[in-house]
């Protein structure tokens, strides 16, 4: 057997999957280490995807074609990498259960985690049962129903943007990029399910910088009557019948505002996953907010400052699914370039 080059891919989310497939195509032997017992990462949290409401499961199935049964790809589940180090030109990954993996190059595709909304206690998540996160909304939507804990259809629902993003107080100054459009999507989904109910979106800015986003935003207002209110929610409380009372300021009308809704959905932001932070710190490639830092954001975005360690997907910064898949491929190309040089 010829001496094949080997690459470790850490994380079997969309970025890892797409990178592994491309590398396998180049006849490189890939080992994918996934900490969960299944692949797909955050894509598993979605029911339908923006901007075209495509079923997330379908997208996932086409993504994993040639991934699971690829003879060049070995996927190992339940392997949490606790240490990633370069040693004698080799990349060594230690996992929490004591196993060691070795390769010629490594790709960090450890992705993101969502913001823990309990940190913003004033929003009542974890305290008032009808305050949920956007991730929980997706889960409910997958099951076909959006219901309050009492089991009734919400007559009024509010979505709050920028929870854990663009927020000095929690230390995240950046924009998570996907939550605005996700709110538009979810509000439309809600209104399609329950046309009689009302939906409100509280926002600071509406950031619709993607293909078809603006159109969707417009449609949500014209066709579905979603109401947009500029202003952050400052505090929430609960009424006796478990409705959520919102205090906010309508910054366009410059008045304080009070509203009672049956359900409040927090559009939680994107943060670096724990593994992203730990592994990039170990290799001195950690950037702001615990994300991994690429060598050059314009020309070497898949390279890190560590030779042989590559970055793919949202371990670098918040990215959309579309961007993540493309970035996985792009990382694979960089790895191939590198392996050729080190022959």
């Amino acid at each position: 057997m010829e001496n094949k080059k080997t690459v470790l891919v850490i994380g079997a989310g969309p970025a890892g999957i797409s990178a592994a497939k491309s590398l396998a195509n180049d006849n490189i032997s890939v080992t994918v280490l996934e900490k969960e017992d299944t692949f797909g990462g955050n894509i598993n949290n979605w029911a339908k995807l923006f901007p075209n409401f495509k079923d997330a499961g379908e997208v996932k199935s086409s993504l994993i074609q040639n991934f699971v049964n690829n003879q060049n790809i070995k996927i190992v589940y339940n392997k949490k990498v606790t240490e990633l180090k370069k040693h004698n030109q080799k990349w060594i990954a230690n996992t929490s259960d004591g196993e060691v993996f070795e390769s010629d190059a490594a790709i960090l595709s450890t992705g993101f985690k969502v913001f823990d909304a309990q940190y913003k206690e004033e929003l009542g998540y974890g305290i008032y049962p009808n305050v949920i996160t956007s991730v929980e909304f997706e889960k409910m939507y997958k099951n076909g129903k959006i219901l309050t804990v009492q089991g009734s259809v919400p007559k009024k629902i509010a979505f709050l943007n920028c929870v854990g993003s663009r927020d000095e107080k929690v230390g995240n100054h950046y924009c998570s990029r996907i939550c605005c459009i996700a709110a538009v999507k979810q509000a439309i989904e809600f209104k399609e399910l329950y046309p009689q109910s009302e939906a409100f979106i509280f926002y600071m800015d509406i950031r619709m910088a993607g293909q078809f986003y603006e159109e969707l935003y417009r449609k949500s207002q014209e066709k579905h009557g979603v109401v947009y209110i500029r202003g952050r929610i400052s505090e929430t409380s609960s009424t006796i019948d478990k409705k959520v009372q919102i205090k906010a300021e309508d910054t366009l009308a410059a008045t304080p505002l009070r509203m009672t809704v049956d359900m409040l959905v927090l559009m939680i932001g994107v943060e670096a996953s724990k593994s992203t932070t730990i592994l990039s710190k170990q290799n001195n490639i950690d950037g702001p907010y615990g994300f991994a830092k690429s060598k050059d954001i314009h020309t070497a975005d898949n390279y890190s400052n560590e030779n042989g360690l590559f970055l793919a997907g949202s371990c670098k910064r918040p990215l959309t699914l579309t961007e993540t898949i493309a970035d996985g491929k792009s990382a694979a190309i960089s790895v191939v370039e590198y392996l050729k040089q080190t022959k």
Binding site: Y119, E121, E122, G124, I127, Y128, E168, K169, V170, G171, S234, E235, T236, S237, S238, Q245, K247, T255, P256
Partner: protein
């Protein structure tokens, strides 16, 4: 007459000094506000004046409070102040005994050894030379320490030492030289006449190699000029604190306090600061965030010299740590507040839209959660549970439409707006007819206590819960969890509540102590009084505090302020809980009254 031209600098200097001091004191006295003058007149002839004399002695001369910080530093201040004081007193006695009148030439005491050169005996004359030598030696040891402090302040337990202005430098330089020059002058005279004792005599013998016949007079001239320089620069330098501190102590003892507005009493306080720099070391802005030039010593100095910058006035947490540490006992945060207060009364009323609902019936207790507590709803839920468990007939005053207590506005200097808010709340509280007002926020608590006119007992929830437990109104169980308690600034230093929270916590868990506790507790960094601090600096202060508080890895970091809770939660270091939450979690259910059990059963049914 005992006269020589070299006494002229000293005498002129002394006259100028007294003239300026008297002028200044009168000017400040006239600026005292009505209340301060009232107390002065009321208490001047009471034993409070005796107390003031005692305290002046202990503080201005002995420097008791500095001793508490560091022995050597205390000794340095005492040897200079008390030593010099005694030197003047005994010098005067010696001169008067010699001249056999109380009205000898005023400079005679100062230059006694020059003028009285013979062994002329008078009553007790033999005890003075050694006594005066001893005092001089004590003072010189203080001067030596002061020199050392300049080179290495850490020797005297100080991390930072104050930077000086021009007048300070002149005064300091002359102060450093006054006593060495006195030693040289007296020693040279002693060498020529033999009127010295163990110190001046010995030094005189060593100096005898010089042509003292010629040099002696120059030493005396130098000594006198140094005194002149010191006297003339004193009123404009930090040393103005020497006379001012004494007057300040008297005013304080008579009952004066700094009010809302800048007054003559503020001037006395500004000038009573000795710029010892102790407030720099205790300030978290300095040691946690490395921000200089905003500490109280700089604030006081810049205010006194009228070049106060906004940054210096505003970049302060108002945590009160410096107030606790200041050996002079200056009301540093109150003065800062005076300078922050906006002079022009803004015409716009911002709170017209607030139309609070009045109480619909009479209650025993009013509960005011406060704006900050509304941002930490689990505290509110816990308080509700506690009220219900104790079976209390309470009115949750700001449940739906709350109005801020007004203190954050006030701390930013918006007095008028703050008063608007206060009058709204005052009306509401009085409408309830309750006897007790309970609040969950130390900021509101302090505001109710100090800025409201209320005929009602005001309690922070930690006091209230403590009473409920003591009176068996609620039963709690011990969770055995380890707990560290963080004293919130406004509750601890601000309101003096240290024991009640600890009392409660010791009953529900295993209360551990931390390095910074009670009067010495740290600010969480989230203070609303500082609207200009950079977030990164705030985070540095928070993280430093968190590190100290969680050094023993407690299960729970407890606090009694929603703002501290929120700030610490974002630090992500420990499980942070308010006292109310901890109690609500540990209310023991077995002891619930049967009525409550019934009610709960029904509730669960509805939920199902």
């Amino acid at each position: 007459m005992n006269y020589n031209p070299f006494i002229i600098p000293f005498t002129t200097g002394a006259i100028i000094l007294f003239a300026i001091i008297i002028y200044k004191f009168i000017a400040w006295y006239r600026k005292l506000d009505k209340k301060q003058r009232f107390y002065l007149r009321k208490n001047i002839l009471t034993f409070k004046s005796i107390e003031a004399i005692k305290e002046s002695f202990l503080e201005a001369l002995i420097h008791r409070n500095i001793y508490k910080k560091n022995l050597l530093l205390g000794y340095m201040h005492m040897s200079l102040a008390f030593g010099w004081f005694l030197l003047i007193i005994f010098g005067k006695i010696e001169a008067s005994l010699h001249a056999q009148t109380l009205f000898e030439e005023p400079w005679l005491a100062i230059f006694f050894r020059y003028f009285v050169r013979d062994e002329h005996k008078f009553f007790m004359s033999e005890i003075f030379p050694p006594l005066m030598d001893f005092l001089l030696l004590v003072i010189l040891s203080g001067v030596l320490l002061a020199w050392l402090k300049r080179f290495s302040s850490s020797l005297l337990g100080m991390k930072k030492t104050t930077r000086h202005s021009k007048f300070d430098k002149i005064a300091l330089a002359s102060l450093w030289w006054i006593f060495p020059l006195r030693l040289l002058s007296e020693s040279s005279t002693a060498a020529l006449t033999g009127n010295g004792s163990f110190l001046t005599g010995t030094v005189g013998n060593l100096m005898a190699v010089l042509n003292l016949q010629y040099f002696e007079i120059y030493f005396w001239w130098a000594y006198s000029i140094c005194l002149f320089a010191f006297f003339v620069s004193l009123p404009f330098s930090r040393y103005m604190h020497i006379p001012t501190e004494v007057v300040f102590i008297f005013l304080k003892k008579w009952g004066a306090t700094a009010g809302e507005e800048y007054s003559g009493y503020t001037d006395f306080q500004l000038n009573a600061c000795s710029r010892c720099g102790i407030c720099i070391d205790v300030c978290q802005m300095n040691f946690a965030a490395n921000i200089q030039n905003v500490q109280s010593v700089y604030f006081i100095r810049d205010t006194r010299y009228k070049h106060l910058k906004d940054e210096t006035a505003n970049n302060c947490l108002m945590c009160g740590r410096c107030v606790e540490a200041c050996p002079v006992g200056l009301e540093l945060t109150v003065i800062r507040q005076q300078l922050r207060n906006k002079k022009e009364i803004a015409g716009k009323h911002y709170y017209d839209y607030t139309k609070p609902q009045e109480a619909d019936k009479k209650y025993d207790i009013v509960y005011f959660a406060g704006c900050m507590t509304h941002l930490t709803p689990s505290i509110i839920i816990s308080m509700k549970k506690i009220f219900e468990e104790a079976g209390i007939n309470y009115w949750f005053m700001d449940e739906n439409k709350g109005t801020c207590c007004g203190r954050p506005m006030r701390q930013q200097g918006f007095i008028q707006q703050s008063k608007d808010l206060i009058s709204i709340n005052q009306k509401l509280i009085n409408s309830s007819g309750a006897k007790t007002l309970v609040t969950s926020c130390p900021i509101c608590y302090k505001s109710f206590k100090e800025e409201y006119v209320l005929d009602i007992e005001i309690k922070h929830h930690s006091e209230f819960i403590n009473e409920l437990i003591e009176n068996n109104k609620i039963k709690i169980q011990n969770s055995q969890k380890s707990i560290v308690y963080h004293d919130p600034c406004e509750l601890g230093r601000g309101s003096g509540i240290y024991e009640e929270p600890r009392n409660i916590l010791a009953k529900v868990g295993n209360l551990k102590s931390s390095e910074f506790e009670k009067q010495n507790s740290l600010c969480c960094g989230g203070s609303l009084s500082n609207a200009i601090i950079e977030l990164e600096d705030q985070i540095k202060i928070r993280n430093h505090a968190l590190e100290n508080l969680t050094a023993c890895n407690p299960d729970i970091l407890a606090t009694a302020c929603p703002l501290c809770k929120k700030t610490f939660v974002h630090g992500n270091k420990a499980k942070v809980m308010d006292i109310a939450e901890i109690i609500a979690e540990n209310i023991s259910l077995q002891n619930q009254s049967s009525k409550h059990k019934e009610k709960n059963k029904i509730k669960t049914k509805i939920e199902l």
